[in-house]
């Protein structure tokens, strides 16, 4: 069953990369991701991880190098955050649209200006649509577990898409908590041997193929549909990978979402990432106060947990969505997505905007949001425009 160590989220990623026997790492530092690539560099230099480590001159090159490595069939990994992800963006799309299996850890961080190094989800959500499977981790254990599972999912022949594991800046990346680390031999049995997967496209002079040349409109749409099919398959493969992972660790991940005290609830708060734990604590407190409330954590946002959410939300009286992100002139990004997924169920879906640029989302804040949902039910007014939690309104007077 492995050993337990006290690890930051970033070191949990590095340990997962080591256990997965990644073969090529190409990375560039950025706060708060830096300690991931520092730790991996140490593993490689100590001989604990037998990988080629390319110390590239930018994130754009980090992702380009991972694409090159993936095209040979090697297991590739990179990590970044915020501005690094945006700088990399062109080739993040290339990796997803070109179906290059790999894993990337993204430490969520707000974009500037003004400069901020704290968590926000807009960096990741700007890459919603580019063919990556996207996980949000709640705690450091999940960070390690999802990173290991991601290699299996990404390299599954029914998927062959890159996978992003995201963890919130500082709250996870730099906070040390006990993490159970599986045995190397168990992980070896769980993942395919590195470099063993059969890609439909692989660089081999004995069998020349061209990847990515011009496609006229009559051929193009099928490339896109193929990715959508992979995403469809991924729903099943993710659950399978999570179940199999449970067999070696006792920690089962068998859904794209994690519901908490939802079955008899009238109201459900939906969130993702590190705040899920506080949401659950708030649910316990509200339940003690007599509120029939539950919480749902989204573990993936791509593929979007459409059926799972609909099943959970079907008989509820109200849903609240907590976004640590914002689309200006629209509202919370996940709020929009979830509302559209539930549209025919005719349930009010209230948006909350919280925690931008790393502002704390405390248990009390979730309690307030829960109570607000009940006010809305009782007053029968439907829903309000997105409510900004702990906004210092006096600034605007």
């Amino acid at each position: 069953m492995g050993v337990s160590k006290v690890l930051t989220g970033n070191y949990a990623v590095a340990n997962a990369v080591k256990l997965a026997k990644v073969q090529v790492v190409a990375a560039y530092p950025i706060t708060p991701q830096t300690t991931i690539v520092e730790k991996i560099a140490q593993f490689v230099e100590n001989g604990e991880l037998n990988a080629k480590y390319i110390r590239v001159e930018s994130e754009h090159s980090a992702m380009a190098a991972c694409i090159g490595a993936s095209a040979t069939g090697a297991r590739a990994f990179t990590a970044t955050s915020s501005h690094g992800l945006m700088y990399m963006s062109e080739v993040v799309w290339w990796a997803g649209l070109g179906k290059f299996p790999m894993v990337m850890a993204v430490v969520t961080r707000a974009l500037a200006p003004p400069w901020s190094i704290w968590s926000e989800h807009n960096d990741v959500l700007a890459h919603r649509d580019c063919g990556w499977i996207i996980f949000f981790a709640e705690d450091n254990q999940e960070v390690l577990d999802l990173t290991i599972q991601s290699f299996r999912i990404s390299e599954d022949e029914k998927v062959l898409q890159p996978v992003m594991v995201t963890l919130d800046a500082f709250i996870l990346s730099h906070t040390a908590t006990p993490v159970s680390i599986p045995n190397q031999s168990d992980v070896d049995g769980y993942l395919p041997p590195p470099g063993s997967r059969r890609l439909p496209f692989i660089l081999d002079p004995a069998n020349p193929l061209t990847h990515g040349n011009l496609a006229y409109p009559r051929n193009f749409m099928e490339f896109r549909y193929e990715i959508e099919r992979s995403m469809g398959n991924a729903r099943r493969i993710i659950v399978e990978a999570g179940r199999e992972y449970g067999k070696i660790t006792g920690r089962y991940y068998d859904s794209l979402i994690e519901p908490y005290r939802c079955s008899d609830a009238d109201a459900v708060l939906i969130c993702m990432g590190s705040s899920a734990g506080d949401a659950k604590d708030a649910v316990d407190i509200l339940r003690d106060e007599g509120y029939n409330i539950g919480a749902v954590k989204l573990r993936t946002i791509r593929p979007f947990p459409y059926e799972e959410l609909r099943d959970i939300c079907r008989n509820k009286r109200i849903i609240g969505v907590v976004d640590r992100d914002y689309s200006f002139g629209f509202g919370g990004i996940m709020h929009g997505e979830i509302k559209s997924a539930l549209s025919d169920l005719h349930i009010p879906v209230q948006g909350f905007i919280a925690g931008l640029g790393g502002r704390d989302i405390r248990v009390e804040d979730f309690i307030q949001m829960g109570r607000k949902l009940y006010h809305i039910i009782e007053s029968g007014v439907g829903e309000f425009p997105p409510i900004w939690i702990n906004l210092r309104r006096e600034v605007f007077r």
Partner: protein, 299 residues
């Protein structure tokens, strides 16, 4: 260096029916590259004319594995391919970047410099048609002074960026220039590069009939005149040692060079160049040769 055309494989690696313009220097260069390495390599192609020359999916006119990649990313992608092959224990596969001057001298120079500084074991070839041809003949930093492009209607006001010397400043094991008009010189350099461990950079002059405005049967003639007038110089820098190659060896003495007007007058892109501009261009060429002479002597 003594390669004969008879030693080259008959096999073609750039197939008929590709989408190049008639007289295209890029396809000529690629054809030679294929023969030089006998098809045993991986080609990395950023956005450029060669993205089109390959022809559209589901076919490809290039008979070696091609990984197309974003405009700025070719040197980094090749680094990743090299690392992947090494990790998989396949050490004998050549990885070759084939990029335009825009993808090299401008948008790709950061990744190129990074790969050179890391001394990645790859061959990077820039085919230099001296503008962004794919997008319709816009100036690049490799466009020569005085040349018309669709973003320099009155002629470019800056001089050509000297990328081979920038690469030499990285102290990589091998830097060379070449021209598609001198195939054996180019092939010898590719073959030499293939034997060297570490980063190899070859800058291939590639006169483009479409962009430079000359008839499509004059590609080789224009290429030769570039070298014979001294506007383009054939050399190599091996482990820091500079050496002129081919016909350029005999052109250090200025009186042996043809007047650069012979070169300019064949090309529509220089049709409006003034006498003063030509004088400036001549002075620039003389300065370049002085620099090469100095490099030769400092050895």
């Amino acid at each position: 260096m003594s390669i004969s055309i008879r030693d080259l494989p008959l096999e073609e690696y750039v197939l008929l029916g590709n989408a190049a313009c008639p007289g295209c220097p890029a396809s000529i260069g690629l054809r030679m590259l294929g023969k030089a390495l006998e098809g045993k390599f991986i080609l990395v192609v950023p956005a450029c004319c060669t993205s089109i020359i390959q022809g559209p999916y589901p076919k490809s006119a290039i008979k070696v594995p091609v990984l197309n990649i974003a405009f700025a990313a070719s040197a980094a992608t090749a680094s990743g391919i090299r690392a992947g092959f090494e990790a998989l224990g396949k050490k004998d596969v050549q990885v070759v970047v084939w990029a335009g001057d825009g993808g090299t001298a401008d948008i790709g120079i950061q990744a190129l410099s990074g790969a050179a500084e890391r001394n990645e074991n790859i061959i990077y070839i820039c085919y230099d048609n001296e503008a962004y041809m794919n997008t319709g003949i816009q100036r690049s930093s490799a466009t020569p002074y005085g040349a018309w492009t669709t973003t320099t209607w009155r002629g470019k006001t800056e001089f050509k960026k000297n990328v081979p010397l920038i690469m030499a400043a990285h102290r990589v094991p091998y830097v060379a220039t070449a021209s598609i008009a001198y195939p054996l010189d180019f092939i010898a350099k590719v073959r030499k590069a293939a034997k060297i461990n570490g980063f190899k950079y070859i800058h291939l002059h590639a006169p483009c009939p479409t962009g430079w405005r000359f008839p499509s049967d004059k590609t080789i003639e224009v290429g030769r005149l570039a070298v014979l007038t001294g506007m383009w110089v054939l050399y190599e820098i091996e482990n820091g040692v500079f050496r002129l190659t081919g016909v350029s060896k005999s052109l250090l003495d200025k009186s042996k060079r043809k007047p650069i007007e012979d070169y300019l007058k064949l090309q529509g892109r220089f049709s409006k160049i003034s006498d003063e501009q030509i004088d400036l261009l001549k002075r620039h060429v003389d300065e370049l040769w002085m620099e090469y002479k100095h490099l030769m002597e400092s050895g």
